[in-house]
Amino acid sequence: MTTKSNSSSIELIDRFRDLATRFINFFWKTIKRNLKTYTMIFVLIFLFVLFWVLIGNTFIGPRNISNLTRAMTIISFLAIGMVFVIVTGNIDLSVGSATGFIATVVAFFQVHLFSPLILPLLSALFPGMSGYLLGVISTILAVIIALIVGGLIGFWNGFITAYLRVPAFIVTLGGLFIFRGLMSAVTGGKTISPIESSLNSIFNDYLPREAGVVIAVLVIVFIVSNTLWQRHKRVKYGLEIRPLIYDLIKMFFFSVLVAGFVFYMNLYEGLQIPVVMLVVVAFLFSYLAKNTRFGRYAYAIGGNKEAARLSGINIKANVLKVFIFMGMCIGIAGIMFVSRVGTGAPGGGETYELLAIASCVIGGTSLMGGEGTIIGALIGSLIMVTLDNGFVQLNVPNWAQYVIKGLVLIFAVWVDVATRKTRE
């Protein structure tokens, strides 16, 4: 009796040990494959702990986390588009000016076009319409205009880069000046205000707490059903599937992350509208990168242009598309910017291009092209915002903030270079 129970418990321990080793191996492999991204996650955690210790509980309180994640959105929208641009081996220095330019265009539209021209027309046609509703229409039109102008800016940059073969660095450096100039032209050097309150709330408002809960539930349902659906499809194709436990843990992790974030934000005012939008856009662009031909082609072009060309890929058309997508991101950033500031003023968006590029690079995007992820860029942008936020609360002098941010950027690239060396 004793021997029997003894052997079965040994068996159990063996099975457990086996499972544990496989587990550790699996996670070690995933970490090694994305070493850059994980290093930066560790840096982020380190920063959070550091500021928590130095500043105290207010730093990780719901209010501060809410402000911090909101503050990262504008640069993050730009960084998401920038990942694609850099992955194809190009660069866009014009995004900061273009963001400011679009913000003034949108303000100009609402203040100088919609209010004096379209508004009287609409009120005449639909006399019962409330002023708030008219404002919403104005805002919807403003968003559409921002996306179109952004797309055109992207087309301009992309066409000259891809088809007229002027290096992207030069084209967009030119763009940096051009859009800054146009920004002054639109505003005439004066601040344009007031914008509609509905436009104002895009960046600054919160979703009702109940909506947050509904979103959390929907996202978790999606995570679970999608994971199971993917497993089912792999079986149908006769492909090997990972042990269920891996997927369960993964599902659990992401579900807790989503539910936890929503819960935590609801402790303050609720989910922030720009953060929800950022997650949606990031998801779409990640999908674009990983699951579409366009995404694959972008990485191939940056990885080896010649091989991509000889594989039948139209390089010019794809680079143009990348810039147009970048332009749409600029459009969104422009809307967010005008919404945050509440006015259209000259001088907006200065150095945003550099912050966006830095976010990408800190998040593991290689300036040589061919490498980079959206999630990495978001982590990069979160690191920068965390530094900003923590430094302000610690009253770190301005000069030191710049110095430390610069050092972090260099450190991130050094990590990349150093790990690359060991790979060789």
Binding site: K233, G303, N304, E306, A307, A308, L310, S311, G312, I313
Partner: protein
């Protein structure tokens, strides 16, 4: 050691992983002579010269090399020391800074200076002196980029001479030169000889040896075959020495059944994309049948690669002539267009043109074929994995998983990945440019077998290769190219190595 000889190789052997590049090479070079070294691609010429240049240090090879009576013992990477000893090499690919002037190039890295400030007057007067000494007419203040290739070559030679070279090695100096430029080079070499400079002259073009070389050494498969005086030999004798190897069982035997014509090329002419006046493919015509392997032979730079990349729509410009694919006229536009007509190209250089080294095997294989398993909105990744798995096992590519980086594979397996890329597209016509370059014998054999299987299944294959035995063993028809033109088309039975070599050197 006899002082008559400036250089002596004594049983030099050099091994690379899997390959013996040099096997007991021995020969001597007399002081003041022009010594020709010839051999097929891969005969060991470049390896030998790299030992002289200090690229492969002492003890990385066996045997001994004597220069000026003393043994060469370069340690580490000692290219600079070789130059100091008086050994100068002018490589096939010129290493000049095209934005700098002739004088700047000649003294690059050792500009006459006082405390770091360059003395330009001294630099240019020295340049002038050395040009005058060897009676070279080069505008010494002009930027190198403005000079023709021939004159650039002379700048390289002048640079070597200015460093007081006692032994000048020219590696394929005439491959990019026009006839008149070759004449100039020859007369300059004669002048140098009168000035007491010894010269080793490496070339594919056998007739050139008889114009200037005093002695000719023939290398084959890493061995010295013979060193003869050029006055006591003939071109056919040299060709025979170069190719006269025994054919071993290195090739799988297969008879191909040729069916209908799938590709007809009539009077194809194309021009260089950057220098539109330079003809890269001139008046080429041939026919390719279903199930046929057409071998394209020729020396490097004879226009083989240019021909196939032009057919694939990715190189030549102002393409004239007619191409007919499957009885329909095909107008050459882009690689995508060619692929849609069923033409695939396994490019010459797998690392630069065939693969994205940092990406996974899966991503590489599916890159040209994504349309097969994707809609505009999504790639069917399961289908992708399935198809890639199939082709990987079909070709016997050895890898841990499809997500392995291509970088981590061996050369042979990398080459198979490139081939896999194009097999997934089910080509009608498969063009393979140097399909076995730089891979070991075993992997070569497998690729040959694969080519035979493909041909048997009805694929028409065009193979460009520098290795004559490979061309002869696999091809049903052999087209030989010389200076952008087709210098002959041979049936498999008519082809001998001598005959191909004669056509390839344009000696017929």
């Amino acid at each position: 050691m006899n002082n008559n000889f400036i250089l002596e190789f004594d049983r030099v052997t050099k091994d690379f992983p899997g390959i013996r590049a040099l096997s007991e090479v021995s020969f001597k070079v007399k002081r003041g002579e022009i010594h020709g070294v010839c051999g097929e691609n891969g005969a060991g010429k470049s390896t030998l010269m790299k030992i002289l240049a200090g690229v492969y240090p002492y003890q990385s090879y066996e045997g001994r090399v004597f220069f000026n009576g003393e043994e060469l013992m370069f340690s580490g990477s000692s290219i600079r020391k070789a130059i100091e000893k008086g050994i100068a090499i002018v490589y096939q690919e010129l290493a000049l800074v095209s934005q700098m002037t002739v004088g700047e190039n000649i003294y690059l890295g050792r500009e006459p200076n006082q405390k770091g400030i360059i003395n330009w007057n001294e630099l240019y007067s020295k340049t002038q002196d050395i040009l005058a000494k060897y009676k070279l007419k080069i505008p010494f203040a002009s930027t190198v980029g403005k000079l023709g290739v021939g004159q650039q070559q002379l700048v390289e030679i002048t640079k070597a001479l200015s460093e007081d070279a006692k032994l000048l090695i020219l590696d394929e100096p005439t491959s990019a030169l026009t006839e008149t430029e070759v004449d100039t080079l020859m007369s300059i070499l004669n002048t140098l000889k009168k000035n007491g400079v010894t010269c080793i002259y490496i070339s594919h073009k056998i007739e050139e040896f008889f114009r200037i070389a005093d002695t000719i050494t023939v290398l084959r498969d890493g061995k010295t075959i013979n060193t003869v005086s050029s006055k006591r030999t003939t071109v056919p004798a040299i060709i025979k020495m170069m190719v006269g190897r025994e054919m071993k069982e290195r090739f799988p035997k297969a008879e191909h059944k040729m069916e209908d014509v799938v590709l007809e090329v009539k009077n194809l002419t194309a021009f260089h994309p950057e220098y539109p006046s330079r003809v890269i493919v001139e008046d080429i015509s041939f026919c390719l049948h279903k199930g046929e392997i057409l071998g394209i032979a020729g020396l490097m730079g004879s226009g083989r690669t240019e021909l196939v990349t032009t057919l694939f729509g990715e190189y030549g410009i102002n393409v004239q002539g007619q191409v007919i694919v499957n009885n329909k006229p095909f107008d050459i536009r882009s690689s995508r267009h060619a692929m849609n007509q069923g033409i695939s190209l396994v490019p010459e250089n797998r690392k630069d043109q065939g693969l994205i080294l940092e990406q996974s095997v899966l991503e590489n294989i599916s890159l040209p074929n994504l349309q097969q398993f994707s809609t505009a909105l999504a790639i069917n990744k399961n289908q992708e994995v399935k198809i890639c798995n199939e082709v990987v096992s079909k070709l016997g590519i050895k890898l841990g998983s499809l997500s392995a980086q291509v970088n981590s594979l061996s050369g042979g397996n990398q080459q198979k990945v490139v081939i896999a890329k194009w097999l997934v597209s089910n080509p009608l016509i498969l063009i393979m440019d140097e399909p076995t370059r730089g891979i070991d014998v075993g992997a070569k054999y497998e690729i040959y077998k694969l080519m035979n299987i493909l041909a048997a299944s009805g694929v028409a294959i065009i193979m460009v290769s520098s290795e004559l035995p490979e061309i002869m063993a696999l091809s049903d028809t052999i087209m030989v190219m010389h200076e952008a033109r087709c210098s002959g088309i041979l049936k498999r039975k008519e082809a001998t190595q001598e005959r191909i070599m004669t056509l390839a050197t344009g000696y017929e």
